[in-house]
Amino acid sequence: MTSQDSVIHQDRVEALLKGEKVDQVPLFHFIIGFCARNVGYSVADMYRDPEKSFMAQLWTFEQYGVDGGPDYGYASYGGWEFGGEIKFPSSEWQQAPSHVGFPVNSEEDLARLKTPDVRTAGSLPLAMEFSRLQDKFNKPISVVLGGNFSIAGNICPVGTLCRWMLKRPEAAHRLLRIATDHLVEVVQYWADSFGAERVIPNLWEPVAANNIISPRQFEQFALPYIKEANERMLAMGIKHILYHICGEQNMNLPHWAKIPMGDPGLVTFGHEVDLNTAINYFGDSCLILGNVEPSIIQNGTHQQVYDLCRQCIDKAKHAPRGFMLMSGCEIPPMSPPYNVYMMKKAIDDFGHYS
C-alpha cells in the first residue's frame, strides 16, 4: 500500500463524517493486542509505550487495509486514574490491563473521592502522548475512555455499584456524578490541546449491558449521566462522539437512542445486537459500526468469519448515515491473521458502492 492509499483510507472515514459518498464500506478496527503480536511486541508494550503502540497499529492497519484508528485505551479505564492499581498484561492469556485494587471499596472511600488531575492521572499522560502522535501523523484525534457507568464500575467493584443502586442509590449517584465530571474534564483537556472539532471521544460502555443491569436501572443510573456528558461535550465543540454499546444491550437501545452523539454520531455494537435493529434506532443520526463476533474471529474458520462479514455488510451497507465494518468488540490478540484478513476480503468482494 502506498502513502496515497493511506490517505484514501482515512478519507473514507472523513467523507462519511461529512455526509459524503464513499467508494466502499470502510474497515474500522479496535485491535490493539493483535497488532502487538503482528509486529513482535508484547501486549503490555501497547499500553505502556505509546510510540510502539501507535506504530504497531499504523503498520498493521496498512497491512490489513484499515480505514479508522489507531487508538489507545482499555476497558478497565478509571481505576488507576482515581488512585487504584492496575497490572499490564504479562501472560499469553491476558488481553489488556486489569484491576489489582480499586480506589473505592466503601462509602467512606467514596466520601473522600475527588476527581483527579487529568494531566497526570493514571494512563492519561500515556494517552496524551499517543494523541500527540495522532496529531503528528495527521490521524484522527481520539481519546478512549469508559462510558460514565463503566468508569464508575472501574472506580469501585461492579458488585459494589450494583448493590448501591438498590440499597444505597445516593452513593451510586454520587459515584456516577464524579465519573461524569471526570469524563467531561478529560475530553475538555483533549479539546483544549487539539481543538474540539478534531477530537472524537471514543467511549466504551460494557458495564451497563443487560448481562448486568436492567433497562430500568440503565434509565435511572446510566442514561441521565451519559446524556449529560454528551451534551456537555457537544457544547464544547466536539462534532462526533463514538460510543461502543458493548455486549447484550438490546433492552437498553430505546434509552441509548435518546442520547445525542453528534452529527453524525458513531455507534458500534456487540454481536448481540442485530444491525437492522441498530439502524432502526440510530440510522438517521449515526454512522453504524459493527459487529462481527470476536470469538468467531478468534476461534472460527476463515469461511465463518467471511460469511459473518458478508451478513453485516448486506444488512448495513446502505444505512442512511453510513456503515463501517468492525468487530463486535476488540479483536482478540490470538486471532488467526487470515481470519482478520477476511474482514478486508469481504469488503473487497461485497462492500463496494456502485
Partner: protein, 221 residues
C-alpha cells in the same frame, strides 16, 4: 418445637426474605427457626435454597438482573451463617457433591462465577472457590487434593478463554471421571464441546442442573 404450620410459615418466610433480598429479615427468621426447633437442613433446603431457586427463575425471565441477584445472595449467605452450624452431622454428610470453581488465568471478571457459586451453595453443594485469575495448573492440583467431582471454569475475555482447553486436558488426564463444565460471555456450547468440556451453562441459573447432568453422564461412561 414449631408446629407443622409454624414450620411452613418459617420456611415460606425464609423463601420470601431471600427473594425480596431482605438480609436482616433472613437472619431473624433463621434464628427463629433455630430457636423454635426447625430442622436446620430443612430450613436451608426448603427455605433459603427454595428462595434462590425462585430467584434463578426471575433472572431467567429478565425480571431480576445482577444487582438483585447479588442482594439475594447476600441474604442467602446471611441465613446460611446462622443455620449451617446447626446442621446435624448426618445432614452435613448429605453434601457429598463437591465442585471447584474459578475464573481462568488472565481474567479478573468474577461476577458470573460468583453467581454460579451462589447457586451451587444454595443447592447444597460443597464449593471450593479458587477466585479469579487462577493459574492454569491449579485446577488439576486442587481437584486432586479435594477429590471434587466437578470442575467449573469461567472466562469473560476471548483471550483468557483459550486457557480452558489446556486446563480441561490437565484435569481429564489426571482423572477422566471428573466432570468439567465451562461458562462465560464468549463461550457457547459448541466451543465448550470443542474444548473437551463435558458441560456448559449459559447462565448461573442453569449451572446446577447442568452439573448434575454431566456428573451422571461422566460416571456412567
Amino acid at each position: 418445637m414449631a408446629t407443622p404450620e409454624r414450620t411452613q410459615e418459617l420456611l415460606k418466610g425464609l423463601h420470601d426474605a431471600v427473594v425480596e433480598f431482605e438480609e436482616e429479615k433472613t437472619v431473624e427468621l433463621s434464628k427463629a427457626a433455630v430457636e423454635e426447633g426447625v430442622d436446620a437442613y430443612d430450613a436451608i433446603m426448603k427455605g433459603l435454597a427454595w428462595g434462590m431457586e425462585t430467584v434463578g427463575g426471575l433472572y431467567a425471565r429478565h425480571e431480576y438482573f445482577v444487582p438483585e441477584l447479588l442482594l439475594c445472595a447476600d441474604s442467602l449467605y446471611a441465613g446460611l451463617e446462622v443455620l449451617r452450624p446447626q446442621l446435624k452431622k448426618s445432614d452435613a454428610a448429605k453434601t457429598e457433591k463437591k465442585i471447584i470453581l474459578g475464573v481462568v488465568e488472565g481474567d479478573i471478571h468474577d461476577i458470573g462465577k460468583n453467581l454460579v457459586k451462589v447457586m451451587f451453595d444454595a443447592a447444597g453443594w460443597e464449593v471450593l472457590d479458587l477466585g479469579n485469575d487462577v493459574q492454569i495448573d491449579r485446577f488439576a492440583q486442587e481437584q486432586q487434593r479435594t477429590g471434587a467431582s466437578v470442575v467449573g471454569l469461567s472466562a469473560l475475555m476471548t483471550t483468557s478463554m483459550l486457557a480452558m482447553p489446556r486446563i480441561i486436558k490437565m484435569v481429564k488426564s489426571q482423572n477422566p471421571k471428573v466432570a468439567v463444565m465451562v461458562g462465560g460471555a464468549p463461550i457457547t456450547r459448541e466451543i465448550a464441546t470443542s474444548y473437551g468440556a463435558d458441560g456448559y451453562a449459559d447462565n448461573a441459573g442453569e449451572a446446577v442442573a447442568e452439573a448434575d447432568r454431566i456428573l451422571k453422564t461422566v460416571r456412567d461412561s
